[in-house]
Subunit: 498 residues, 2 copies
């Protein structure tokens, strides 16, 4: 069986047909990965860092081919794809910098203490160890940064786990090129190419074959709540359940104060619409719910006027475009909302950006208004500013939550709102827009359910801790201990010695 | 409804009847805890540390009453209970020392950087925040250290979460005394008593009421795999699933080399039997599987001789004693094992310590031999030392795995075995016994499934990280940021500034 890449810009086939992997091929990829797991796990931090940098260089070396295929397969503009390639290589380099210090091993050495209370304690030394073969599921909307060698795969590899990644069928040639780049880097570092494997296809069974295989030890996933729940169910039905690190999207509420509108209404209207339409509204951090004071009708006019000038690129796939158009039509037909439209894109998987205006009472009665709709849409909800705190208390878990305020706002009210939002979200933002996730150590990309399945982050260097577990070594002689735990510290890793 | 505490020593009722909590009382305890969650979460590290030390002092102040009730309710000796009280207070003090540094908040500050690659980065600051009300399920076998104010509750409180703890019906008076001790400490610190609540009863519905309540944000549990699986199922069926930190027991395999037997056969035989019978074999770290070389028949005779002299205290409850006796009788009747017995304890919930000897081929055919049986029993399996690595590869996840070896052993063989065991267990031990878990920073008490449901530890100060999640603050002004994230660092917590 084969399947084809399709160009969102006009619906035409792109490139040669791609082989769809069979069950035995998927199993074979996992078995080969498992065979090299132990050797890969024992690599020194220095050697691992070298590999990560070699992967970054190898991906960089294929920039031209990646820009060509990713632009064709996703319909995203060249500037965006170029930035994503850079982000992807930066991710590998940041993990290389971290791994080189050995800090991710979180080594703790508690030397024996005969006077310890409540009982004498033996020598105990702990380090983080990789889990084994990790299955990664690529997202549709970031053909590089959240795809087969995106943040999930980079963090799994950085922590010493072989990876079997399922390519997203919306950008298979890009996945294949990335696979060859990573395998080139493995070869260059004299490591087995079986450490990194990509499987491809449109058959939904591939997800089951991967997630249910006993040699898979963890799952990294970025995508819809529906598929996230399927993976969690697959894991729970295994003889040995495994952790599923699923990032499942978010409404990313934005609360706008009257102070902010008074101070910078035009910039704010433009910024909000641009953030909602960025990448044709296909970001998990898209502001999908915007709360504005009831008195803000002039501000809403500015939003409407800016939106009316805008056209967005086609959506990533025919099915995403269809789901979007159907949801938009349904909400518009419900009659309980005011509809604001941008310019139509009639070719390929093009759609019309559409915002809705309603009030909080109506939104509560119409659950579609409080659900995530992938694509260039957002729901603007008018409410009394004094209601913001109680509204925030009713929201589900979110990746982000934003306050657009001003120095003139009441600080006590802001603090109350911020306090609630910090309980509901993984990242809270002041006077910014949620799209655009900096890859830094302090970043948290992951919030309470249903935005994420665990309290971890899938962006930033702390993503690495998802794919390791601590192991304590009690009373072992120096020459038997893993290198990172030895007193002589041959790997020169950070050791915390008590 | 009421229920009674029963004395294992003779099966008689102990103390007054205990009120069994109703559904509305359980819900009320959760609601009250939820009401004070925000205030408790905002406590300074210093104030939290003061509370933790006050709890330790308050428990210490009730030592006499606790020894009396816990000895009566569990049948465990006074020395053991005394040590457990000390361990319980030490746990609170260790968390106080940690919390005071603020290190558990894992504060990271990435200041704004307009030149950051791949894109300018805003100011992002991250800290760990408590999850909300935590449900704790007390274990039967540690009436203090793993009970309502044991390591799970201490780590949940230390990280700023109110606790609703289900007392174990095998030691209700002890649970009630601990509850009053913690509430006294809360009062002394001018904090709401609703921060800590104990619910009690024999009705299994209490577990469901607690675990399924929407205001419960996480579960800490120590007990059987059966109940652990029930809690995980309850969580998965909630509208919002929550993390279940379940420690579900383990076989704790011990691999004995010929070198070790040659070097110290008498000490080893004695040590193994004593470890298996410690606390009447009711430890989750009991060595339940012991592998010895086929040639070790004299060593097995030493084990038999030592066991024959030993009698153990009664088991914790009638049902535990019944399950034990039934399992022992079944295995003995299977005929495929050699049975070694200790001395009978015929009163109350007394039983006879019983070890089994078999070979690996037989054990593989009889799954009861490779399952955990709570109580003073262990299965000794003879095998070729050259088979140890392949046997280890077939074992499930374990809390601990031990090698009893000698300097004369082949180092390469040891390293192979250690490597496999470190993939199967949370703690690997050289020439020690798995019972006795030091409460230190490097300790890891939690291994791969089914010994634990997650890759966390329930003993040692890292247990605190189970009950917090990271939240990132982007671009907020200093006066709105949480204290731990401010440049002026009013709480003087450890900040990592990039």
């Amino acid at each position: 069986m084969t399947f084809n890449a399709v160009q969102p810009v006009d619906g035409s086939v792109y490139g040669e047909a791609i082989h769809e992997n069979t069950q035995s091929e998927v199993q074979d990829a996992i078995s080969r990965a498992k065979k090299v797991a132990k050797e890969f796990a024992s690599l020194s931090p220095k050697a691992t860092a070298e590999l990560l940098r070699a992967i970054a260089d190898s991906i960089e070396g294929k920039r031209e081919a990646l820009v060509a295929s990713a632009c064709a397969e996703t319909g995203l503009p060249e500037g965006r794809i170029g930035g994503e390639i850079t982000r992807t290589t930066v991710q590998f380099k940041l993990f290389a910098d971290l791994v080189e210090t050995g800090r991710h091993l979180r080594v703790v050495i508690d030397k024996a203490d005969p006077n310890y209370s409540p009982a004498p304690r033996p020598d105990i030394r702990r380090q983080n160890q990789p889990l084994g073969v990790v299955a990664i599921f690529a997202a549709s909307n970031f053909p590089l940064a959240f795809s087969v060698a995106g943040g999930d795969a980079a963090s799994a590899l950085a922590s010493g786990n072989p990876v079997v990644a399922k390519g997203h069928p919306a950008h298979p040639h890009t996945c294949a090129t990335v696979e060859s780049a990573v395998k080139d880097a493995l070869k260059k570092c004299n490591l087995s190419e079986d450490i990194f494997n990509v499987v491809q296809g449109v058959n939904p069974q591939i997800t089951h074959w991967l997630g249910s295989h006993p040699d898979i030890q963890a799952i990294g996933f970025t995508g819809s709540e529906a598929v996230g729940r399927i993976l969690i169910k697959i894991s729970s039905e295994r003889e040995v359940p495994i952790p599923v690190f699923a990032e499942m999207g978010s409404l990313n509420p934005v609360f706008v104060t009257q102070g902010a509108i008074t101070e910078r209404s035009t910039d704010l209207a433009k910024g909000l619409v641009d953030s909602a339409l960025l990448g044709s509204g296909q970001f998990c951090t898209k502001p999908g719910l915007v709360f504005v004071p009831k008195s803000a009708s002039a501000f809403l006019d500015e939003i409407a006027a800016h939106l009316a000038t805008l056209k967005v690129g086609p959506l990533l796939s025919a099915s995403i475009a269809e789901r979007y158009s159907k949801a938009i039509a349904q909400i518009a037909a419900s009659g309980a909302v005011k509809v604001l439209s941008g310019q139509e894109n009639a070719s390929g998987f093009g759609v019309t950006p559409t915002l809705f205006i309603t009030d909080w009472a109506t939104a509560q009665k119409n659950h579609e208004l409080l659900e995530e709709h992938f694509g260039p849409t957002s729901v603007i909800i008018t409410a009394d500013e004094s209601e913001y705190v109680s509204i925030a208390e009713q929201l589900q878990g979110q990746l982000t939550a934003t306050i657009q305020g001003a120095a003139s706002d009441n600080v006590a009210s802001l603090l109350s709102l911020l306090s609630i939002l910090s309980e509901r979200a993984g990242r809270v933002i002041w006077n910014g827009f949620p799209t655009g996730v900096a890859v830094t150590e302090a970043m948290q990309h992951g919030g309470p359910w249903p935005s994420s399945s665990t309290h971890t982050t899938s962006v930033g260097i702390d993503a690495i801790y998802r794919f390791m577990r601590p192991v304590a070594y009690q009373s072992f002689a120096q020459d038997v201990l893993p290198p990172a735990l030895q007193d002589s510290n041959p790997w020169k890793v950070e050791q915390r010695i008590n």
